[in-house]
Homo-oligomer: 373 residues x 2
């Protein structure tokens, strides 16, 4: 199951409080590695579902004290549950998975809880579906998991939570709570608001208009299906950082609107100097921002040269192509296949280091391939 390391680092029992998507996925991932996971949830039916899924077992009277407690409760009760777990299990390390950190840490500090055994956490993983039913043991594989130790956190506590993160296949990222909250305002909370606002425009649309919806609209609005109750908690907890990002977005939107209003009048004879430039600037800025999103597993965006090869749709042709590439001695950095069933040919787009491009093109042409640069 774990291809990264054969060693399970986490020592059980691990108590998981809250068996929604994240809690049940953590339980599944640990239980699959043989860690003893004890589940808790105020909802008996949620608890039973997580248990039946294999996310862990129910508590028994003779249970040993947990070594680690993971609080996967809703955001607005996380501080209270963390404080209660720290008090109830005085030897355990406690962590949480809430998506906003600064307010939580302030609340816990004010509560007088023993924060030497606490390390705040936030796995950047999720699905548009919620609940244990959507849980997967590999939900965190390859995803960042932010750890924000409090000033009082002991290094052994940080090490234990780090072990949990590594066992679940995630990448631990240590960040200051405020820095984390600004980052998620940008990469998570602002996209949620934007998706909801775009989707909200559809409420008054006629059926013939929404029938024209394509993949673009579906992608932009997918997360607009998210739970309002959860998102009010998240946005309220991170209000100032989200407002700061949205103010910038509103200013850009006003520029686009001004340009469009000028262009709408242009048709009636009014000149619209600079309006097209303003629109081009907005779309190009989006290109630039979009290009900053790293590859799926955190790789830096690297610019490769792309060589496009026409591949006949017959068994073995791709194998022949890669065999030829191997003979040429060019390493493939990335690959994209364009292929539709029933079409006589497909295209293989081979990403290689720019310095290798022309040698590869020549060698493939020599071997009979049709190559487009």
């Amino acid at each position: 199951v774990n291809r990264h390391s054969p060693v399970t680092r986490t020592a059980g029992p691990v108590r998981v409080v809250g068996t929604g998507l994240l809690g049940a996925s953590i339980g599944l991932g640990l239980a699959t590695r043989g860690v003893d996971v004890v589940l808790a949830d105020p909802s008996p039916s949620a608890l039973a579902l997580a248990r039946d899924l294999g996310a862990g077992r129910l508590p028994q009277p003779e249970d040993a004290e947990p070594a680690l407690v993971v609080v996967a409760a809703p955001p607005d009760v996380t501080a209270a549950v963390v404080a209660a777990e720290l008090a109830a299990h005085p030897a355990a390390v406690v962590t949480d998975v809430a998506s906003v950190k600064a307010g939580l840490l302030a609340e816990l500090t004010a509560s007088g809880a023993d924060l030497s055994r606490y390390v705040a956490g936030h796995p950047l993983a999720g699905r548009e579906r919620s609940g244990a039913v959507a849980a997967r043991g590999d939900l965190f594989a390859g995803r960042p998991w932010v750890l924000s130790p409090a000033p009082a956190s002991r290094s052994e506590a940080a090490a234990a939570v780090r072990d949990l993160v590594l066992d679940l296949g995630a990448t631990p990222v240590t960040m200051d709570a405020a820095e984390h909250d600004e980052a998620v305002a940008l990469v998570s909370h602002t996209p949620q608001v934007a998706a909801s606002l775009v989707a909200a425009r559809l409420r008054q649309a006629g059926p013939e208009a929404v029938a024209l919806a394509g993949q673009g609209l579906r992608d932009v609005t997918r997360i607009a299906a998210s739970d309002p109750g959860l998102w009010v908690q998240i946005l309220a907890a991170n209000a100032a950082p989200v407002a700061a990002v949205l103010r910038g977005l509103r200013d850009d939107l006003d520029d686009v609107l001004t340009a469009l209003e000028q262009l709408a009048c242009e048709g009636r004879g009014a000149p619209a100097p600079g309006a097209r430039t303003a629109l081009a600037r907005a779309i190009a800025a989006g290109n630039e921002g979009r290009a900053r999103i790293p590859g799926k597993h955190g790789s830096a965006p690297t610019t490769y040269a792309v060589v496009t090869v026409v591949v006949p749709d017959r068994p073995g042709q791709l194998g022949r192509l890669f065999g030829d590439m191997g003979e040429v001695g060019v390493n493939l950095e990335d690959l994209h296949l364009e292929h539709s069933p029933g079409q006589p040919v497909g295209l293989a787009e081979l990403a290689v280091l720019p310095a290798e491009r022309s040698r590869l093109e020549t060698a493939l042409r020599e071997r009979g391939w049709t190559v487009h640069g």
Copy 2:
């Protein structure tokens, strides 16, 4: 290839002017059905690529006059190219694929062109990638294709374009040009602006912030990678309807911003009555709008089985995998690579016909590959 009807309705020769994504996809779809497709493009390299892909052939001196001309040129030259094609081919029916219709029809009417043989069209299909390289003959399968006949359009012309649409597996939808433009402002142009604005916020973000990006951000900003030159043309051509939708979006955004600013002050003791309700209303409105998007109709004709193979991150491993697939004699229908730099392995997801799945899994395991079903 065509599951809807065994009969090809379109009579060739069909002249496709413009061999970008849409033109080349139309050529591919028709050529696969045995229709004689003649390609034209001002760019010789774009033309050669489309020809090599099987989207059609180059014109010959002895060619018969086309029965149908499809203008798939950039939006801002579509009117001129349609008028030129109507004049050059006085017996042909002419259609286009531009994404804004009212201004185009006004321009053509003013030009004095013979609109009895012209029917405006707009296939609601596309990809964030452009050019013939991204073309697919099944691009239009199950998608709406809006037809906006001009008052002068003859019914035989409308029938010929309708046949083209049906042959490509799309669903003809007749709409008034103004009604069409308002609909695409809502379902296509506004999502594009929103995606670009969200992505633009990422330009100034630190690498540690963008490293936290997840699927939500990726989906919301996918179309932010679109071509600025094309989108300036589209937005400028549909300025008034897009501005009307964006004004409503900006008002909703201001409500969210006001609520967030109240909540940011709440932490410092100021009450924020109604702020949470305003946020909940915005997210719930998004739920409601999102739910109005109909399910995908008629798409995904074939469901492939996916075989996931663990690929060690060493040069030549992918070539070895495809070589082995070639020996086994299983044809690859689609492929997705999961890169994990810094991790010792990656995953190749191989899409094959369901009937081939178990044979491929067995054969790859015999050859030493780690395979997940």
